[in-house]
């Protein structure tokens, strides 16, 4: 007999995906009385995949949530532990927004503004100098005359990568003197942040970012779209390149700062853990994760119908990550 059979789907991983997965799990449990409500653990994308790749069996998880794609090294280490059929499911996007306190000035940001405010070195008269800016209005006169304090996710967050790739890097490309540098130096110049206390890295969750903003009125913080939406009474969102972040603008790709959200299903467990396949299919149902679904209400940017069909088809075909 299987050592300690398990009949509850076990999920773990990214804390960004957690709310969405939890809602689906709860609805799934309610909708299918023959299945238990799946358990959704947290632990970050890393922690989730670590558990996922621990092997096959009742004491390993069935699904890992991730706010990033699985990496090759992780696939390898999965395989060496016997997890060979990793089914990747992308189910939507997470919008990342800049927001400031509702009672302070409104920001109309561009990547180069953020870069100029945050970088260790900025271009001044064609030369790279240590960042001299102390107020947003010095960066660009269209910005409010507020002290520069930028609250960003720390490097243990997946959001940080998006922030670097979608904001800082494009932002620094706007400056000629950086473009001229060789590739390595360019990367460094783009990602090196000032260390004078104006950049605050948050290793915890968005609640902490919000607390920061409450303590420091001038600060601008990085949030997930869903978090912002639940706290609209305290926050106002900044536009990026003139685009206001919303489900539509992010879904259409107009608003540039977003990232795909995934979960990974352990093929070996399908058919063993009751309801696993049904859960995935339920998740990809339009009623659940499409437009107008509870997930959208909770802040997920859904896939469009075509993408969702594809994802579902790929899952049904059991197309594994190589």
């Amino acid at each position: 007999a299987p050592a300690m059979a398990r009949d509850t789907i076990q999920i773990a991983g990214s804390s960004t995906v957690l709310p969405f997965a939890s809602i689906v799990a709860e609805e799934f449990g309610n909708a299918f009385s023959q299945f238990n409500t799946p358990v959704v653990g947290s632990g970050g994308s890393s922690g989730g995949l670590r558990q996922f790749c621990q092997g096959v069996g009742a004491n390993t998880i069935d699904i890992a949530n991730a706010s990033r794609a699985i990496r090759d090294g992780e696939v390898e280490s999965c395989a060496s532990a016997g997890v060979k059929q990793i089914l990747e499911v992308q189910f939507g996007y997470d919008g990342i927004v800049f927001a400031s306190r509702a009672d302070k000035g409104a920001f109309k940001l561009e990547p180069k503004h953020v870069f100029a405010a945050a970088a260790a070195q900025v271009e001044r008269d064609g030369k790279l100098v240590a960042n001299p800016y102390t107020r947003w209005s010095q960066v660009d006169s269209s910005l409010p005359n507020q002290e520069i304090i930028l609250v960003i996710p720390a490097s243990n967050h997946g959001t940080r990568e998006v922030f670097e790739e979608r904001v800082l890097t494009p932002g620094c490309q706007a400056f000629d003197s950086i473009k001229k540098l060789d590739k390595d130096a360019q990367g460094k110049a783009c990602l090196d942040l000032r260390q004078d206390g104006r950049i605050i890295e948050i290793a915890g969750d968005y609640t902490e970012t919000l607390a920061r903003l409450q303590a420091q009125a001038d600060a601008v913080g990085v949030f997930g779209l869903s978090f912002y939406e639940q706290n609209r009474d305290r926050l106002q969102v900044a536009t990026m390149n003139g685009v206001t972040p919303s489900l539509e603008t992010i879904g259409s790709g107009e608003y540039p700062v977003s990232r795909p959200l995934f979960f990974y299903v352990k093929g070996e467990h399908i058919g063993v853990i009751p309801g696993l396949a049904q859960y995935v299919e339920y998740f990809l149902n339009e009623q659940v994760s499409g437009f107008g679904s509870p997930l959208e209400e909770a802040g997920l940017i859904p896939l469009n119908d075509e993408e969702r069909e594809q994802a579902l088809a790929a899952f049904k075909a059991r197309k594994a990550v190589k």
């Binding site: 050592a3 300690m4 398990r6 509850t8 076990q10 773990a12 957690l18 709310p19 997965a21 939890s22 809602i23 799990a25 709860e26 609805e27 449990g29 309610n30 909708a31 299918f32 009385s33 023959q34 238990n36 409500t37 358990v39 959704v40 653990g41 947290s42 632990g43 558990q51 621990q54 069996g57 009742a58 004491n59 390993t60 998880i61 509702a102 915890g204 969750d205 968005y206 609640t207 919000l210 869903s226 978090f227 639940q230 706290n231 609209r232 009474d233 305290r234 106002q236 509870p294």
Partner: protein
Amino acid sequence: MSNETLSHRSIIQARVAKSLRKRHARERRFRVFGLAAVLAGLAFVALLFISILVRGLPAFWQATITAEVYFDPTLIQLEPRPVPREGETPQAFSEREIAWQSQLTMVNWNRILENSIIALKPELANSRRDVRALFTSSERFHLRDLVGNDPSLIGQRVTLDLVADANVDVWVRGNIDRSLPDSQQQLRPAVRALADELRAEGVLNIKFSKALFTNPDSRSSPASAGLAGAFMGSLFMMLIVIFLAVPVGVASAIYLEEFAPRNKITDLVEVNINNLAAVPSIVFGLLGAAIFINWFRLPLSAPLVGGLVLSLMTLPTVIIATRASLKAVPPSIRHAALALGASRVQAVFHHVLPLAIPGVLTGAIIGVAQALGETAPLLLIGMNAFVANIPTTPFDQSTALPVQIFLWQGNELRNFFEARTSAAIIVLLTMMISLNALAIWLRKKFERRW
């Protein structure tokens, strides 16, 4: 006595007298500092409790809609609940049962909910979406379960207390600034107006809510999120700690105090135990993840693993407390027993241990209380999961009370969950203080002076 010594003494007396005023002043200052320190300690306790009570108590009351629900047979078209047929395999029966359950779930319960308000305000018949927004989303399952348990309700009218949506609760209580423009509000203007109207009419009330105590956590329906799951998880872990850490700890203490020879090895064990008592709890989390989950392959997120980790963590506390109370038993008792021809084991188990029991119990309770409040190691063994079931065995996945607090304080619905978090803290503190009071009571009751 010579005059010389006399005068010498009077000089000395004069000097002593001279020093006195300053010394007494210093004495008084010192005493005031001491009193101030005690008062500061008491003030911290008071401050902490008041601030948490003020924040948390309101969360025990929740916006509740009291309405007459009509279980409309035209909406609930349901076959009778299947009963086992003769000669039917259990599997076939359970399939029929599941089919019936699905049918039950498919009923449009939301409509029934909406109708309960529309019956009061027919003018809303065209804004069902606004009406639905009043209720927290799990209320539809509440209705489903009512009918599932008692199909005879179909066709009846029942007055029910229905939990309002979290945002409605926030709005009617003024936990969000009511003067904010629409763009900054969570609720649509129509829903806000409706909520205010119902409030004025007495349909929507702030009522004491059992949800917090009877429900497990919920994400899709925050207003019905409760502590029952976390409570059971904590309970199982406490039981494991009681049945593991306490006996093993007491046994270790007895060995070390009464039997172990005094040598380098026992010295090392002693240092080791004292050190374990101070090892950061988070390190025990790393230990639990590596040993119990990866090595022994125990289930994830289970109170079993949490209990084991917490047991290891509590072990030194129990050992140290037990040793202290064994030490406090006067040697004369041991000698009396030994001199009557009792063996060492008999002396310990007949006399010393029974006398040490109050101390052992106190130590055990304090250890258990400590385990009950621990969070950090649980984060590393997957107990910070979202679990929508109430666990029924220590092998079922669950969270724990302190972890639930941690999860709730990070919930994005700040306006709602700040109070909820404090309410959860009140529950946890109540348990904690009861345990501590029990310990103090035991200590008082059995306090013995030799």
